[in-house]
């Protein structure tokens, strides 16, 4: 009951003040706007594409795609194999890989008849090969892929990316994202925790709670839990801002940027962030409890932030970090995020990181409770 009252007070303090709520959500919005603007400035605005697409086999769907291309204000030249410059599908594929052509569409023999049910017994197939390193190719793939996905089934449809663009996109995301996430998560945690812990200590309102019969662990948890929830709002806002704007910043499509990370990958990313937030909140709360003023706590927290940044840079840009990294708080989350984003995700690595971060959080909460009991810390001059 006491813990609940302590938590409710923190939530009331936060949600009763719209300014605090805005400061949590605003960073994500700003990140999205600024990064998107930067991306557009670097990679230009709306493109006018003129696609060159090789087609193997025949289907009326090509006309449907052509119509959609025209509707978008683009043009497409569909070249049927064998053709001059590309006699076979393999040669056409090479041209897609080299960027000379935008895509290769392959239809099985009697594709349209098979769909209509008047052809043979075998399942008709359609294949789309594109090159995500090329903006034009990616744009065509998005358009044609969407049409084929919804075209009169049943038929087997496969999409393949002939380039290493997904890996490129992933490596870009893997390099930048964990670093950015840690910084934004830390900023979100810092803005609420410093005020709530160091601020209350400085103003003497924390001591008023200490005179009551509430247990010190309840008081510590009553800070860490709600502050973590509140920080998570800020962290989620910043995370979404980064996720949504990074493709634009990198000049690639959203599909290419997020392809392969998958639902499980996003669940893991979310869990890692959720485990890092209370850890960082607890760490800042320890520093805040030890400090006499918000100003002093800010100074110490800046050192903590630099340490976090060094750890995340270390993980993001130094290769060959061993399994031992899982034991290091924050670093374990960064390394795990990196694994998720590069597609080398180890579910156990992520879960161990999440578990260890929660254990570290529990230890820090215990430390806060001890500090709250310390007269030298709470009432020392």
């Amino acid at each position: 009951m006491k813990l609940l009252a302590l938590m409710k007070k923190e939530f009331a303090r936060f949600f009763g003040d719209p300014r605090l709520l805005i400061t949590m959500i605003l960073p994500g919005v700003l990140i999205y706007l600024i990064y998107s603007l930067m991306g557009n400035a670097i990679f230009g605005g709306e493109e006018r594409y003129a696609f060159r697409v090789y087609v193997s086999g025949e289907s009326a769907v090509v006309d449907v795609i052509d119509g959609a291309v025209t509707q978008n204000g683009w043009t497409a030249e569909f070249v049927y194999l064998p053709a001059e410059g590309a006699q076979t599908a393999e040669e056409a594929l090479e041209q897609v890989q080299s960027g000379q052509a935008d895509a290769l569409l392959v239809f099985s023999e009697g594709f349209d008849e098979a769909i209509a049910g008047t052809g043979g017994d075998s399942v008709p197939t359609a294949g789309l090969t594109y090159n995500s390193e090329s903006d034009g190719s990616a744009a065509f793939a998005a358009l044609a892929g969407g049409i084929l996905e919804n075209y009169g089934r049943p038929f087997a449809f496969t999409v393949s990316d002939s380039a290493e663009s997904v890996d490129f996109a992933r490596s870009m995301m893997a390099g930048l994202l964990p670093f950015l996430i840690v910084i934004f998560v830390f900023s979100a945690c810092m803005s609420v925790t410093l005020e709530s812990v160091a601020g209350e200590k400085e103003r003497g309102t924390l001591a008023t709670v200490l005179v009551t019969s509430a247990r010190r662990t309840d008081i510590a948890l009553g800070k860490v839990l709600p502050l973590s929830c509140v920080s998570l709002i800020g962290a989620a806002s910043s995370f979404l801002g980064v996720i949504l704007s990074l493709p634009t910043l990198m000049g690639i499509s959203v599909d290419a940027a997020v392809a392969g990370v998958g639902a499980l990958g996003y669940v893991m990313l979310f869990l890692l962030i959720v485990s890092v937030v209370p850890l960082i909140v607890s760490a800042i709360a320890v520093v805040s409890t030890l400090s006499h003023t918000v100003k002093e706590a800010s100074g110490y927290t800046s050192v903590l932030m630099i340490l976090m940044m060094v750890l995340s840079i270390l993980a993001a840009f130094v290769s060959g970090i061993g399994d031992w990294a899982v034991a290091i708080p924050v670093l374990n989350a960064v390394v795990s995020m990196q694994s998720v984003l590069t597609g080398a995700m180890g579910v156990w690595q992520c879960l161990v990181s999440v578990g260890l971060n929660l254990v570290y959080t529990a230890l820090l909460v215990f430390a806060i409770a001890r500090l709250l009991s310390s007269e030298r810390v709470m009432f020392g001059k």
Binding site: K2, A5, R203, T205, T208, V209, V211, R215, E375
Partner: protein
């Protein structure tokens, strides 16, 4: 109605008993310079013993730095004595701090209320901190807010209250759980005459309710007006302890205090 029953009937009349309380603090180099001493530690309270009786107001009187606040902080369990012990309603401040905190209401200028909240919210919050049920809390809020004229300001944020009203709210919040013993550290310090009167009236009312009150002050008139017993602390030691009549022996409290002070310090004041 406010309860005048105390949960410590088996403890007899001594609601507070301090036994050889001693507290020292480490001095930083800066503090050593300010204190003009080479000693690394300062003895704030040195073997202090006294008792406060049920239903009475006990005043700890002494100059600044005498150890009054340190003593009250030990009694309220905010700090631990180096040696000795004190018992509040029979509970040891060293071994049972949580039970002591349940039995006391402590108010000092160092303990503040959050500006962002209203008196009503804070009353409920601190009531929950002391484990009070909602219905009991609501009844107590009605009674205390009505009695001290806070009801009209119940939903006004603390930052918008006048100093006098804020002091009333602080007093009321400190006794939200109807404690048997109320401890006030320098309750009128820094207050204007009107607000100080609010506090002294409040103390008198608490006494009328049968509460046991322990207060520290360096204001003679406050002790003479309110206190049944007085303890004079000088340099952390109890220099005199007893009823006002016993301590003063016919003189005024002020004359008595300075006579004792001169006797101990060997200086003319």
């Amino acid at each position: 109605m406010l309860s005048t029953e105390t949960p410590f009937s088996d403890f007899g009349e001594e609601v507070v008993r301090a036994e050889n309380l001693r507290k020292t603090f480490t001095l930083s180099r800066k503090q050593q310079r300010l204190e003009r001493t080479d000693l690394p530690r300062k003895v704030a309270v040195d073997g202090l013993s006294f008792t406060a009786q049920r239903g009475e107001i006990y005043g700890l009187l002494g100059p600044n730095g005498a150890g009054k606040t340190t003593t009250l902080r030990m009694l309220s369990t905010l700090i631990r004595p180096d040696s000795g012990d004190a018992f509040v309603c029979g509970h040891s401040v060293v071994r049972e701090p949580q039970k002591v905190r349940d039995a006391i209401g402590f108010m000092t200028s160092d303990l503040k209320l959050e500006n962002f909240f209203t008196p009503s919210y804070l009353f409920d919050f601190f009531g929950a901190m002391h484990g009070l049920e909602k219905s009991a809390l609501a009844a107590r809020k009605r009674e205390l807010f009505g009695r001290f004229g806070i009801d009209r300001f119940a939903e006004v944020k603390v930052r918008d209250l006048s100093t006098g009203m804020l002091q009333k709210v602080s007093l009321v919040v400190s006794i939200v759980h109807d404690p048997a013993v109320v401890i006030f550290d320098e309750p009128t310090n820094g207050l204007d005459v009107l607000t100080a009167k609010v506090v002294t009236d409040f103390l008198a009312e608490l006494k009328a309710m049968g509460k046991s009150i322990l207060l520290s002050t360096h204001i003679f008139s406050l002790v003479e007006k309110l206190c049944d017993r007085v303890g004079i602390i000088i340099d952390g030691k109890m220099a005199a302890d007893g009823t006002l009549a016993e301590v003063c022996a016919g003189d005024s409290l002020e004359d008595t205090f300075f006579a004792i002070y001169r006797g101990i310090k060997g200086v003319t004041v």
